[in-house]
Symmetry: C2
Subunit: 144 residues, 2 copies
């Protein structure tokens, strides 16, 4: 019983619980994805990139499953989808309210914690609506 084995075992149990908390069965594929997504710091990743990463680590999983699970995790509040690019979706493992820098040249997202950028004077909402979310994207290019 080395500490390492303990750590790994605990991690997997935590991830399984996280998956169960979303009313989903902890399958081999979901556990592998959760490991990639949640085990080190916040990530911003696209479906195809995550698929590549999984295959690269020897996890056998289809692209359809990646999409299925990214959406299920998002619905369950484990992920948040960030719309910054008209052609692909990014998924963010940080589900706390916050905003983003988007490096347009590199297609890379970076968090801005929401107490470091505030939105004021939000006007009255149109009749019969409520806010679902407020997205602030500060788009960046290389300084000339």
């Amino acid at each position: 019983m080395t500490p390492q084995v303990n750590e790994n075992r605990t991690d997997v149990i935590d991830l399984e619980n996280k998956i169960r908390s979303a009313n989903l069965r902890p399958t081999r594929q979901r556990i592998s994805l959760a490991k990639l997504l949640f085990s080190e710091g916040n990530r911003h990743i696209t479906a195809e990139k995550l698929h590549g990463e999984a295959l690269g680590k020897g996890v056998k999983i289809s692209l359809a499953t990646i999409y299925n699970n990214l959406h299920q995790f998002t619905t369950a509040g484990l992920l948040r989808e960030v719309v910054v690019d008209a052609s692909k979706s990014y998924f963010d493992t940080n589900v706390e309210p916050h905003h983003h820098f988007f490096h347009e040249d590199r297609g890379l997202l970076e968090d801005i914690s929401s107490h470091r950028l505030t939105v004021d004077d939000i006007p009255n909402l149109p009749e019969g609506t409520e806010i679902s979310s407020i997205d602030v994207i500060v788009r960046l290019t290389k300084r000339k």
Copy 2:
């Protein structure tokens, strides 16, 4: 020489000048598009919708031309592209700095004039970058 005829003639000349100001030739297709886009108030429209609208008004124009011109107009600063949906692009005829309400259920954009919503405390930018734009999208759903 009725006022109407005058107005129409003047309109078209204005639109031609607008197109020329972007270093583009005022072709029949461009003038028709400019008429649809710029002749009454601000609009937020997708390529396919604009195509449908043009065909509906009897303007013979291909979808490729719609895309070509939306991009050329955008590059020239006559339009602004708004990213709110991961699967299609919206083009906004209002090129002044401003923000948006996005009605998620209807796929509809609405302007928020920028003096009615302000962004404060923008943090220091990452090294070597500069701001290309700041997009604020207030996503709305139907009030329950």
